[in-house]
Symmetry: C2
Subunit: 196 residues, 2 copies
């Protein structure tokens, strides 16, 4: 296989995590997402709660500021540095699928990394969000869209802040897919591309 490490960025509720699981299962390789937080916490001595707070707040808030007291680097930057080290270690260890966390940027310059971005029309994601309980069942269309777009903005802000790139711009990825094509089709296409 030409690309043994697959990074997957994704819009909120595009089904990226399900597709990443299918790809990882097919490869017999581990997938890392929230697990990264746990690993990072163990590695760095920062508590899981602190890391979760740092990820959610790239800019100041009372809770955030309480965590960062007495540190040279802002907490979110500490978290990013630690997670980046861990992503590089994981990629060195062997084939794997890394979801989110600017994985494509952290591993830039490596020839064995396939960089994937998954997205879908808002309507498609709203249906998926409702089915998965990611938005309240009683939310009307406008409220649900606002929730999806807010989470997308958070992801874009995180990516655009820590990378030199622009989240969701095709040129920074090897393969971008509309997940409305279907989870199976997307997983197939990623696996085909990874073969080289």
């Amino acid at each position: 296989m030409k690309f043994s490490v697959i990074t997957i960025g994704r819009e909120y509720c595009s089904g990226g995590l399900d597709i990443a699981r299918k790809v990882a299962a097919n490869l017999g390789a581990p997938m890392y997402d929230k697990e990264l937080i746990t690993l990072a916490a163990k590695e760095s001595g920062l508590s899981e709660q602190a890391i979760a707070a740092g990820e959610k707040r790239p800019s100041g808030s009372l809770l955030y500021n309480l965590y960062t007291m007495g540190s040279d680097l802002p907490l979110s930057d500490q978290v990013f540095v630690v997670q980046s080290q861990i992503i590089r270690q994981l990629a060195d260890k062997g084939p794997c699928v890394i979801v989110g966390r600017c994985g494509d940027y952290v591993l830039r310059g490596r020839a064995d990394v396939l960089r994937v971005f998954l997205h879908a029309p808002l309507e498609f994601r709203r249906r998926r969000a409702l089915a998965e309980g990611a938005v309240p069942a009683e939310a009307d269309e406008r409220t649900a869209n606002a929730l999806l777009e807010k989470e997308d903005r958070r992801r874009a802000a995180y990516y655009n802040f820590y990378s030199e790139f622009r989240w969701g711009e095709a040129g920074h990825y090897d393969l971008c897919l509309n997940t409305a094509l279907g989870d199976e089709v997307c997983a197939d296409l990623i696996l085909r591309a990874a073969q080289g």
Copy 2:
């Protein structure tokens, strides 16, 4: 096949035309690119030269202004309208591959259209441009890059002007590919995606 019409947008010298040809050959379907100009010319009564001039100059220039004298719509808009009609007629006729000309936007809302965007790193495209004679053999790296980027800007400006979208933003396409993956791989992936 789920998608019988494939539209392909592409960065300059990304190899998009070669890949489009492979896809069309595999499908046994026609591919339309510059042919569209000829068709549009015959259909509209505008001369081929006038259409070529209109496409190259979405904004004013002496030559452009000479062509547009005595017409209600700017020439570039007339060309766009005529080409859009023709693209819709071609898509209605049967399976085909349409390269450039905002095909994805013109055919928006149709469920049988797979929207593809092809791109590649500048270094890769520079090598391809030199091999294909698209930039002069004696051009240094900086000059060659400038030529490639200028043509990309022209394509982006055309697309962004006539569509509501942003050229090369993953969310507006079903499939975006880095052609450095290889022409064969890209053609395979497009055909696989088109099957649905």
